[in-house]
Assembly symmetry: C2
Homo-oligomer: 422 residues x 2
């Protein structure tokens, strides 16, 4: 069943009512009631548009259409979960654009306008955000074999609830025979840029050709409890003071490199015992380093290691860094970039190659199958914030482009291009 | 019923089993099961030693002995609650010493050795520590009219449970006709020093003559949520970075004054949304400034106010300080210091006048009635830590001194001294 741009924008408005916040955003962390409601609505949408809905054991929600019995799938999607007090576009825009693109291409096939080589599947990946259940990109990590299913299901939130329980308490447990990685020929995803390069350069479409390299650490600062009033300053081993020095050092690190060459963040913290009259014995926090240059990342780690010695000495604490997650400056397949570019050219959309700083489910998928990743502009680059905004004309343009990309993928154009490149 | 020093140390060992931690300390935050168990055991102790147990509406637990029908009370006590993973001595030592002192003096009266002017009451103040329910010194603040009972009862912990519910779910709600402030003639308390002045100077007893001045603030740092990876460093308004700069500034502030003239601490923090991939929009934290010199405290506040401008500029955040609690450099009554000194002299204990840096329930009580506050040495000054330690001989000596102080208070010596001073 084909869809119009007006229907797409209508659907987007409806979808944005689930978990809607007063500030104009959404709050639907993975596995919460608001996430489940959005998934339920999306399941209904898939059924109304001729898709067969299935859910795998990691909570990934699929809608499949059989075009060529027994053929692999062109998979297209993103995620419906959000950060707390987040914007309406991050992930959700890509899932809805994927669903409309797939419906339009299925319609083309039914009308005899497209000769399919593959079947079509839409996906809503579970827990891309990782705010309630860490790590992020959980569903696509299990799907691509990077994370064990048991590990994912046993992950707990701050209140001790497991992913398994959160899925069980939601409306859709594993049901039906969901696609597996071996059933997938290639993958496409569209997302808001979450940066302001496209807007600043006045370009309509970004074709993602690389990811920024990232290193994520778990930081433990060990001090000793003592009385906030009575303990002499020179006797203190204040873990929160040590943590503060490290947060400041991580920020200072960015000034050691040229502008835009290093992003550093600390955004999650647990203080023990977190009492108003007892100096912290321990602080646990994250540390996130990203760069478009792997050498910068390596040099940043070396500098930080030296600075940590100073942090330890000044705060009389012990600081430990554990690398928990990393990815290199990995390229998306050139034939995918070429296919995205050809699609934009055909539709007359201005475009540029662009790197993604944020991780996406496509960051996982591109390591497994040929992947096309597209960006539409983000107003002022604001993201993970209720004020996140993408103009309707940009959103519609992206859905049209994704439709063309899926059309070409279903025809098998990516494989044809790859063979021609060999 | 009189008691021996061996019985005192035996009782202390028994009491230390409630909420005992593997590290040799205790963990019995106000209104928890471990606090209730300790209170229940203490209620049994009071009954076995001839006291009438009552509990007031703020959860303060009293044991009274009638010596002079209708006369006001000499009140003596401290608190049984603790910080998380705390030591065995803080508060608990003072409650048990008070109970033994009162039992011994009641025995002296019964034996005709002491002519009483007042009745005797022992108290275990509710929630002195303030780690679970803020503010600290809650029970004595309600008792002295500094905090409204309704406000105290409606205070919630991090999980949303109220003081009212915590008391109701414990073993002892308000029962009996508990003493009120108007029934109290004077107050005495003994506590571990929580510093290392007595140990360093080789002195057995501290007679507290003043409190350090303290100013406690609630700090709010307001930033804006954004993506930890994608947001350019210059676009960030990172509330956690602003908080880190303020923590470092608070520490640097102590270097502006001579050693021991200013203590500053930040020990409690809440980060919103506290997600690994979203920059913090808001951080709430405490800030605690203490000094033995009120002028230092005022100058420290002025310097910090200037530095906060720099913190705001560097982090592009807004920092607000709200004064929540303060006390000046208030003297304990000289006649109480004199009575404590005379008691130590009589027993042949070495002694010195000392200031308290930490707040105590006596900080509240001294503003209402003449108060005697005594310290015994703390090994290395360690406190709010499982390693907190006071030697048995020091603990016993303190209980003997408190007995002599209570004996003199019950006789009415404090009032006689005050009249002589007029």
């Amino acid at each position: 069943m084909s869809t119009t741009n007006e229907q797409f924008l209508d659907d987007f408005r409806t979808m944005s009512t689930f978990g809607a916040t007063e500030g104009g955003g959404v709050d639907r962390q993975a596995g919460t009631a608001a996430d489940h409601e959005t998934r339920q609505w999306f399941g209904g949408w898939l059924a109304r548009h001729g898709f067969n809905e299935t859910v795998d054991q990691a909570g990934n929600q699929f809608g499949t259409v059989e075009l060529v019995p027994g053929a692999p799938y062109v998979l297209v999607g993103s995620h419906l979960d959000s950060q707390p007090l987040a914007g309406r576009y991050d992930g959700a825009y890509g899932v809805l654009a994927a669903a409309h693109a797939a419906a339009r291409v299925a319609d083309d096939v039914a009308a005899g306008k497209v000769e399919p080589r593959y079947n079509l599947a839409v996906v809503n990946w579970f827990n891309e955000e990782g705010s309630r259940f860490t790590p992020s990109m959980m569903g696509s990590s299990v799907f691509t074999g990077k994370l064990a299913l048991d590990t994912a299901l046993a992950t707990t939130d701050a209140a001790g609830e497991t992913v398994s329980a959160a899925l069980r308490n939601g409306h859709r447990q594993a049901e039906g025979s969901a696609p597996a990685l071996t059933d997938v020929a290639n993958y496409a995803e569209i997302h808001i840029e979450q940066g302001r390069i496209l807007q600043e350069q006045g370009i309509q479409i970004g074709i993602v050709d690389k990811t920024w390299a990232a290193s994520k650490y778990r930081v433990t600062v060990n001090g000793a409890q003592s009385h906030t009033g009575a303990t002499r300053m020179e006797d203190r081993q204040d873990a929160l003071y040590g943590a503060a020095l490290l947060i400041a050092a991580a920020r200072d690190l960015t000034a050691e490199f040229g502008q835009g060459l290093l992003h550093t963040s600390v955004s999650e913290m647990q203080v023990l015992p977190n009492s108003p009259v007892t100096i912290a014995r321990q602080v646990l926090m994250n540390l996130d380093l990203r760069s478009p240059d792997e050498d910068v990342l390596a040099r940043a780690r070396d500098i930080l290691a030296k600075w940590i010695g100073d942090v330890q000495e000044r705060s009389r604490t012990d600081v430990q860094l554990e690398l928990t997650h990393q990815w290199g400056l990995v390229a998306y397949q050139p034939e995918g970039v070429a296919l995205g570019t050809a699609s934009a050219e055909q539709l007359g959309f201005s475009h540029m190659n662009i790197m993604t700083v944020a991780g996406h489910d496509s960051t996982n998928m591109k390591d497994a199958v040929p992947t096309v990743m597209l960006f539409v502009p983000s107003e002022e680059g604001i993201s993970h914030n209720e004020a996140e905004f993408t103009r309707g004309e940009d959103a519609v343009r992206g859905a049209e482009l994704l439709t063309e990309v899926v059309r070409r993928l279903v025809r098998g154009e990516l494989e044809a291009a790859a063979i021609n490149n060999d």
